[in-house]
Structures are given as structure tokens and as C-alpha cells.
């Protein structure tokens, strides 16, 4: 009884989550130019996509932006996390909650305040022009907060005795970081990068505030086209993105679960060997 109830509840939730996406993918194969009316199966929208310069430029720009802002976010986030976890100083609690503020601040406010700052900066210095650089700064700003949260949790769960052991064996503080801390937090850095990459790739709000002429990211392209009326080629773009993301997620989770199983087997093996 409970089991049936639980199962149907779960199915309902998953349908709620995935029906929009499935619909979108299905209609990307729709022959009719009307988005909501199904006529016949076709691949023509995908063909059109390959010739759509605006979309291709948007994809390239977004990828570039996402990569750079992911890198910057991880770099700044790691420094922030390291300072917050490993050192105690005056105002520690205040600063550590301030590092998390951008996570809960509405994007619109962040975008607006960044815009105001950059506009007045430009008025004084004549630099920076709104464009790729300003969007990058905005994304890195938000991404740093996210990356810091991920890295902080990894550093907290890491045994600080490992760092002491490294120092005990002759490592200077910087060597402790490069030889012990860094290799051990690499998985967290990778997930922080993926998170901030995605964050940047699908951001509309900050990009809308901070973009200039000639710096139209993919979400901005989609957004502006959707306002003119939905077109099936947008569905095709979305379907491609979803396919790429799903493959990445599936491959990485298979790899992770295999590695984990292998590790468990080795631990069990070592335990048995030790007891012989």
C-alpha cells in the first residue's frame, strides 16, 4: 500500500521534472513551423541550425565565456575557501557569511549593481567597454561564491593532520599546498568548475545587464528569439545542449560509481589480507 503510494508519487515527480524537456526534444523533430502542432518527423531544423551564424557565434561565445569564468571562479573560490577554512582571524564569521551572500542575492540586484559600478568606472577611466570582459567579470563574481562553497566543504572534511604530516616531513607551507592539499581537493575543484561553467553558460540576467554590442551569448540569442515568437530551431539548439549535458552527466556518474566500487573492493581485500 505504502509502497504503491510512494512509487506513484515518485513517478509523478519525475514526470513533472521531465515532461517539459521531453516535449521540447520531441518537437525539435516536428516538420511544422508551428511549435505546438505536430505534422511529421524531420531533421531540417538541425540542418538549419548548422547554417545559423548568430546561434553558432552565440554558442562559441558562451563556451568561451563559461570556460574562462569557470577557471577564474575556481581560482578565486579556492583562495577564499582556503583562507576561510585554514585561518582564524578577526571578523572570520562575518567574512565567511559575506562570501556566501551572492548565492542568495537576487541575480537582478547583482546585475544592476555590477552595471552601475562598471558604468561609473567607464565614465572615469574610459574602460572597460561593455562586452565580453564585463560579462566575464559578472560571471566570475557569482561563480566565485559558488566555487568557494564547494571547496570549503571539501577542505573541511579533509584531515588537517595530512597537512601537518607534510610539514613535519619537511614541506614549507607552499609545498604543503602543492604536494598534499591540491591533489586531494582536485575532485572538488573539478566539480566547482563544472558548476560555475554551467552557471555561466545558462545565465541570462547578468549577461543581459552586462553585455554590449557584439557580445550576445547563446541564452541571450534564445531569449531574444523566443520573444519574437517560438521557432523550432530553438528547440533544436536546446535538444543538442541537453544531449551533450546528459551524456557528460551519465558518463561521469558511471565512471564515479565504478571507481567507488573498485575502492570498496580494495578496502575489503586489504581488510581480509590483514586478518589472515
Amino acid at each position: 500500500m505504502t509502497n504503491t503510494f510512494g512509487r506513484s508519487w515518485m513517478i509523478a515527480v519525475y514526470l513533472f521534472l521531465y515532461i517539459p524537456i521531453i516535449t521540447l526534444v520531441v518537437f525539435s523533430f516536428n516538420g511544422s513551423p508551428l511549435v505546438t502542432v505536430w505534422s511529421e518527423f524531420t531533421l531540417k531544423w538541425y540542418g538549419k541550425l548548422a547554417q545559423d551564424r548568430e546561434i553558432i557565434a552565440g554558442v562559441i561565445l558562451s563556451l568561451k565565456l563559461a570556460f574562462l569564468s569557470g577557471m577564474l571562479s575556481v581560482l578565486f573560490g579556492t583562495f577564499t575557501a582556503f583562507a576561510l577554512v585554514r585561518y582564524r582571524f578577526r571578523g572570520h564569521t562575518l567574512l565567511s557569511s559575506m562570501a556566501n551572500m551572492p548565492l542568495v542575492m537576487p541575480d537582478v540586484l547583482v546585475g544592476l549593481s555590477l552595471l552601475l559600478m562598471l558604468v561609473s568606472l567607464q565614465r572615469w577611466l574610459g574602460y572597460p567597454e561593455r562586452g565580453l570582459l564585463t560579462i566575464l567579470l559578472g560571471h566570475a563574481f557569482l561563480g566565485t561564491a559558488y566555487a568557494a562553497v564547494v571547496v570549503v566543504s571539501r577542505l573541511r572534511e579533509m584531515d588537517s593532520k595530512l597537512e601537518e604530516a607534510a610539514m613535519d616531513l619537511g614541506c614549507k607551507p607552499f609545498q604543503v599546498f602543492t604536494l598534499v592539499t591540491f591533489p586531494l581537493i582536485v575532485p572538488a575543484l573539478v566539480s566547482a568548475f563544472l558548476l560555475t561553467f554551467t552557471l555561466s553558460f545558462d545565465d541570462v540576467v547578468l549577461s543581459a545587464f552586462l553585455s554590449g554590442p557584439g557580445s550576445t551569448t547563446l541564452p541571450l540569442v534564445i531569449f531574444s528569439r523566443a520573444r519574437l515568437g517560438l521557432s523550432p530551431s530553438i528547440n533544436a539548439v536546446a535538444a543538442v545542449t541537453i544531449a551533450v549535458v546528459s551524456i557528460a552527466v551519465i558518463v561521469s556518474s558511471i565512471y564515479q560509481s565504478r571507481a567507488e566500487k573498485q575502492r570498496m573492493r580494495e578496502i575489503a581485500q586489504a581488510y581480509n589480507d590483514g586478518n589472515q
Partner: protein, 376 residues
């Protein structure tokens, strides 16, 4: 074993060969909490020195100051005559074996052991040679390529030991070296550890809360409480001549009678207690009329069914509890005053009948050199 250790100790103290000297070391946290309170100590070369105490007594803080992870609030640390108080951990010729082993999970056994040598910029061939000989020493040659998680607890412990010995430290610090192992593994590992340390001949400072571990491994022990040393001495000194009620109670089991010194003569003393009168076969540093505690270890008491002769050093009671351990049995004897006397008897024969059972009347007696008179 014990004899060997005392011999070594004598030899060392004869040469006045002090490797480690701690002077008035104090560590105060947050301005008021005294974790270590004005501790002074010398450790001779080749000695295994144990710091024993319950958790929070300051022993770990003391060890961490030796390693350089904590900066003393006051006092000095000298190693081989050199003041190392302000040296950072990576410049001290001291290595530590951590309680959790702290093996680097991303490095193989081989690389873990070679880690410290590489930091010293040692030549490759020399590192090879040194690591191989250490692997041989801890008998882990065939596990060299494994990662720490592929090893059992005992093997990990040996890797940690090899790693901490790799740089041939002048002083080796051991933080609860057997604390993370299960009971069965402990005994064999303990012997192995002592053998390896003695083979290498390194001076050790060991921290433990386990008195058995401290007694079997160390050549000398300091019992710590609330940041200071209560007593420093060889294991048998501390066990047989504790200097206070606290130590007598902390190390091993003990029965303490409270009484008043009656007769105080150079060759013997009598102490009147409500339970019985003690005849102590040696002089004490007290005077008649002084209230003292008389401590008798359970294994030094003999239990019998017949009333002992003489008027000293025995009392009568009722058996209220029996704990059978196989090799020996511990009885709880309720005396007339309500005091519970713990008595431990060796099970010398397979005496299945004629033993004591619950509710039996029994007489406990002990020798006139079996007790310790405690004035503190």
C-alpha cells in the same frame, strides 16, 4: 625486557647524555586555559619516554609543541643542546607518527615513505636505497606499490612508522601509536613496534591514555593531569611507589585504607584504620598522629578461609562479587565498615572445588612490605 631497559637507562644517565630538555614549558589557550602548565623534563638519548594521562590532560598539546605545531606561551625546548623553541616543524629534526597515521591517500606506500627524503633533496639512488631498507624493516616490501586504502590497519601503522623513521630523526614522536588498532592486533603490533624502535635506536616520546601501552613500551613515564606532571619515573617505580592517591588510583587497581599513624619508628610504622591495623615494614616521611592513606594492590592480597595469626595486616569480610578471568579471579570483599576490598587471586590449580563463592566469609591478608603509605 624490563631489566634490559633499566640497564640502558642507567647507562644513559651515567653519561648525562640528555637529548631533549624542556624548561618551564607553558601553553595557554585563549588567554586563560592552561593546557600545559610549567613543565620541565629531560629525556636521555635512546630512551622511550611515555606521557600518560586521560584526554584533556595536556599530553597532546605538549607533543604538538615538540613537533612545532603549537607555539609555547612560555618556556624553552632544547634538542641536543640547541634551542628549537621557535623553529617551524619543517626545520626540526623531529618526526611524528600520527594517531590516524595521516598517510597521504594519493601516494603509494613507496612514495609515502620517500616523501620526507625528497623534500631534503636527497639523491635518487640514495632515496631508493633508504626506502627499500625501510620497507624491509617493516616487512612491507611487496606492498610498495599499493595505496594506503589498500592496506589493513596494521600495515598502515607500519607504513606510518617507516615514513616517520625515514629521515632518521633525532627524536620520534608517537601519538597513541596503537590507538587506531583493534584489541587483537594491539599486542603483537606493540612488540613489533618496540623491536623496530630498539633496532633503530631512536629516542622516542610517546603519548598515550592506555596505561598498559605506556608501561610496556616506555622506559620512563610521566603521569600528566591538568597540564602538569604528577610523577615521573620508570613503570615499576610508578606502579609500586606512587607518590599520591591520584597516581595509585590512576595506575592499576588499588585499595586505599584511610587511617592515622600510630607508631612511627625508623624501621616500621603502624597505621590504625577502622578496618584493621597496618604494620608497615619500613619508615615513612610522616609523623605519628598524621592521617594517611594505605594502598594495597589487589594482587598482593591473599584470601583464605582460616583466620590469620597475629593482629596486623588482615581483615575479614564477605564475598559479594566474583569476576573470573581465567588466569586469575577478582573477588570483592565487603568489610565490616562497608568498604569493598578488591582481591586478585592467581588460579594456580584447576581448583574447581574449595574456591570461594558468593556470601562466603573470607580473610584477606598481606605482607608487611605490600603496602604503600600515601601522605598526599
Amino acid at each position: 625486557m624490563a631489566a634490559e631497559k633499566t640497564l640502558k637507562l642507567e647507562k644513559n644517565s651515567l653519561h648525562q647524555d640528555n637529548l631533549l630538555r624542556i624548561e618551564n614549558l607553558t601553553k595557554i589557550y585563549d588567554g586563560s586555559v592552561k593546557a600545559v602548565d610549567d613543565v620541565s623534563l629531560t629525556v636521555a638519548k635512546g630512551e622511550i619516554f611515555g606521557l600518560l594521562g586521560s584526554s584533556g590532560c595536556g599530553k597532546s598539546t605538549l607533543l604538538r609543541m615538540l613537533a612545532g605545531f603549537e607555539v609555547p606561551t612560555n618556556g624553552k625546548i632544547f634538542l641536543a643542546g640547541e634551542d628549537i623553541t621557535n623553529l617551524p616543524p619543517y626545520q626540526r629534526p623531529i618526526n611524528m607518527m600520527f594517531q590516524s597515521y595521516a598517510l597521504f591517500p594519493h601516494l603509494s606506500v613507496w612514495d609515502n615513505i620517500a616523501f620526507g627524503l625528497r623534500r631534503d633533496g636527497m639523491a635518487k639512488e640514495k632515496i631508493m636505497e633508504r626506502v627499500e631498507s625501510l620497507l624491509k624493516l617493516v616487512q612491507l616490501g611487496k606492498f610498495a606499490k599499493r595505496k594506503p586504502h589498500q592496506l589493513s590497519g596494521g600495515q598502515q601503522q607500519r607504513v606510518a612508522l617507516a615514513r616517520s623513521l625515514a629521515k632518521q630523526p633525532k627524536l620520534l614522536l608517537l601519538d597513541e601509536p596503537l590507538g587506531a588498532l583493534d584489541k587483537k592486533l594491539r599486542e603483537s603490533t606493540q612488540l613489533e613496534l618496540v623491536n623496530i624502535i630498539e633496532e633503530v635506536g631512536v629516542t622516542c616520546v610517546l603519548v598515550t591514555h592506555d596505561q598498559e601501552e605506556a608501561m610496556t613500551i616506555s622506559s620512563r613515564i610521566a603521569v600528566m593531569s591538568e597540564g602538569s606532571f604528577l610523577q615521573v619515573g620508570t613503570p615499576d617505580e610508578i606502579y609500586e611507589t606512587p607518590n599520591s592517591r591520584l597516581i595509585a588510583d590512576f595506575i592499576g587497581n588499588v585499595n586505599i585504607f584511610e587511617g592515622v599513624v600510630d607508631e612511627d619508628l625508623p624501621d616500621h610504622v603502624t597505621v590504625k584504620c577502622p578496618e584493621c591495623t597496618h604494620y608497615v615494614g619500613h619508615g615513612i616521611t610522616g609523623s605519628s598522629g598524621m592521617s594517611v592513606g594505605v594502598a594495597v594492590r589487589p594482587e598482593k592480597i591473599l584470601l583464605s578461609k582460616t583466620k590469620p595469626k597475629g593482629k596486623y595486616n588482615w581483615c575479614e569480610g564477605e564475598v559479594t562479587d566474583i569476576a573470573y578471568f581465567g588466569a586469575h579471579t577478582t573477588y570483592h570483599l565487603k568489610l565490616m565498615t562497608g568498604m569493598i576490598l578488591k582481591v586478585q587471586q592467581q588460579n594456580r590449580t584447576r581448583n574447581l572445588e574449595g574456591g570461594f563463592t558468593w556470601g562466603d566469609r573470607a580473610f584477606a591478608q598481606w605482607d608487611d612490605l605490600a603496602m604503600i603509605v600515601l601522605t598526599h
